[in-house]
């Protein structure tokens, strides 16, 4: 059994997704996460806060960020147990944010020894 991280990226939604819709996604997200827990495949998950975010560059400068032209913000991730990337991707298909056109879920295997 391997572990995969599912990274959620959503674009700026203002005007594209109504507040009501976001609330529905949230309820769906809770249900979706619970369904993975029920299968004993959930390892962990969290949101990634954006407001105090910093970027450190090669000169060791610390700036607030990332901002600017980034179209998609990395909003959070969950880690699931799966036999293969395909299986993890199948989990990912259930992510509610995928109902929004510009949103994606990236699936990466976590290295374990």
């Amino acid at each position: 059994m391997k572990e995969y991280i599912l990274l959620f990226r959503h674009e700026n939604v203002n005007g594209k997704v109504s507040p009501e819709q976001i609330q529905q996604w949230m309820k769906q997200q809770m249900d979706w996460v619970n369904s993975i827990v029920a299968k004993n495949k959930f390892v962990s998950g969290t949101g990634l806060l954006f407001d105090d975010a910093k970027v450190v560059n090669h000169k060791k400068f610390v700036t607030n960020g990332p901002f600017g032209d980034i179209k998609e913000t990395l909003g959070g991730y969950i880690i699931v147990k799966a036999e293969s990337a395909d299986e993890a991707a199948e989990f990912a298909k259930g992510a509610p944010i995928l109902q929004g056109e510009g949103n994606t879920v990236e699936v990466r295997e976590i290295v374990t020894h």
Partner: protein, 414 residues
């Protein structure tokens, strides 16, 4: 992970409150920033509540996060220093922007936003769109569905409306005493137009239509909640909308056809709304009676009364006489004729109707057909129905008239 339920429509309701407060603090020029911040706040909630469950106080959480996002946004955009110095010159020693999310400020901000959005310098169509977006928290798709339009058109309409507000330098504030009555009338009119969009809509999506009526009622509550705007006309408007809303279920059949008043199943009338309608009618009567909405609400009240009541149609006719003198429109005149027929009989009503001579108005033609049908003059009824079919505009109406023609031709003449 717990599943404790979040209040339904929490985000939608809070959108309006938060955007109003933020925009009021910084001005209409920052409205898009306010909208972005609030949307991002909801996304943050999506990203964190999903794993840890909803916080003990969801609204406080939303307000705190929104304030932080605002602070960061201002710092990034160097607007902070400019705005802080502006605040310092007219207020106290605050060295930080403070956003007040108290109930009072929320309520004041929403009301002032409503006045700003229903500004006479923008078209009523645009006013309605802005109100739905800013004050009702509807998304572009939802608004587009309601008006049988598309997202792009609505988006453009909103952009143009916002530009108008900037160029006219509209402020988010209560109109002063000289202007408030007139501005309030504009607001009331827009709210009623919004309600009518839902009530009279030909869209088959009954959920969407009811939603528009509900949003109109919510906006009217904003007016009623504030002493400055809780007056005769506002209460009359609310009364009218409640009476009409009581018939929403009965108004549309399962396959989406409109069911007219006489054919409606009265058990589907919502008694709670009827009671509310009566309550607000009484409230409205505490002031001098002068709003046409009051007359219309009174007519609506009488429509909830059973036909066996002997005063019903004479009262309605008298009210239409009053309404017609204030608001001389074909629809009012035609509705009056119907009441006239109930009081004075079909023959007299036909004479009265023919005085109107609205020969290309299909509602007029259908009415005459109906009256002739009641006196069993099928030839005349058919003649008017055929004319009506020619002049009517929508497919729904054509179908309805065709059904009447078919029914007429099936019945043997008495």
């Amino acid at each position: 992970m717990n599943e404790s339920d979040i209040i339904p429509h929490l985000f939608k309701t809070e959108y309006s409150k938060m955007v109003s407060v933020l925009t009021r603090s910084f001005g209409l020029e920052y409205i898009e920033t306010a909208e972005d911040i609030v949307s991002e706040t909801f996304l943050s909630a999506l990203d964190s509540w999903s794993y840890k469950g909803k916080p003990a106080n969801p609204t406080a959480w939303l307000y705190t996060v929104a304030k932080n996002k605002l602070k960061n946004h201002l710092a990034r955009n160097n607007t902070f220093n400019k705005l802080v110095s502006e605040q310092l010159t007219d207020k106290s020693q605050c060295n930080e922007i403070s956003i007040d999310f108290s109930d009072k400020n929320i309520s004041d901000s929403q009301l002032q936003m409503l006045f700003a959005v229903c500004h006479p310098s923008i078209s009523t169509e645009a006013q309605i769109c802005l109100a739905l977006r800013m004050l009702c928290g509807l998304g572009l798709n939802e608004i587009a569905d309601a008006f049988l339009s598309n997202k792009e058109t609505i988006h453009k309409r909103l952009q143009r409306a916002k530009e108008k507000l900037y160029s006219e330098k509209i402020k988010i504030e209560m109109p002063d005493d000289k202007e408030i009555n007139e501005r309030l009338n504009t607001v009331i009119q827009t709210i009623y137009l919004l309600f009518s969009e839902g009530y009279y809509s030909e869209s088959n999506n009954s959920i969407v239509r009811k939603e528009l009526c509900v949003e109109a009622l919510n906006l009217a509550y904003l007016l009623l909640d504030n002493p400055q705007t809780n007056n005769h006309a506002t209460n009359a408007l609310m009364s009218l909308m409640c009476f009409q809303a009581s018939r929403l279920e009965a108004r549309q059949s399962e396959n989406g056809d409109i069911v007219l008043y006489d054919d409606q199943d009265r058990t589907l009338w919502n008694t709670e709304f009827i009671e509310k309608g009566f309550h607000y009618l009484q409230q409205a009567s505490k002031w001098e009676i002068k709003s046409t909405y009051y007359v219309e609400a009174s007519i609506a009240y009488w429509h909830t009364v059973d036909n066996s009541n002997r005063d019903k149609w004479t009262s309605i006719l008298k009210l239409y006489d009053v309404l017609l003198s204030a608001k001389n429109s074909p629809i009012v005149a035609l509705n009056r004729i119907w009441a006239f027929s109930k009081v004075h009989g079909n023959n007299a009503a036909i004479v009265e109707a023919e005085k109107l001579g609205l020969h290309t108005n299909h509602f007029y033609l259908v009415l005459l057909a109906e009256l002739y049908n009641h006196i069993d003059d099928d030839d005349k009824a058919n003649e008017y129905l055929t004319k009506a079919h020619r002049f009517c505009k929508t497919n729904t109406e054509k179908e309805m008239i065709q059904k009447k023609i078919d029914k007429l031709n099936k019945e043997p003449t008495a």
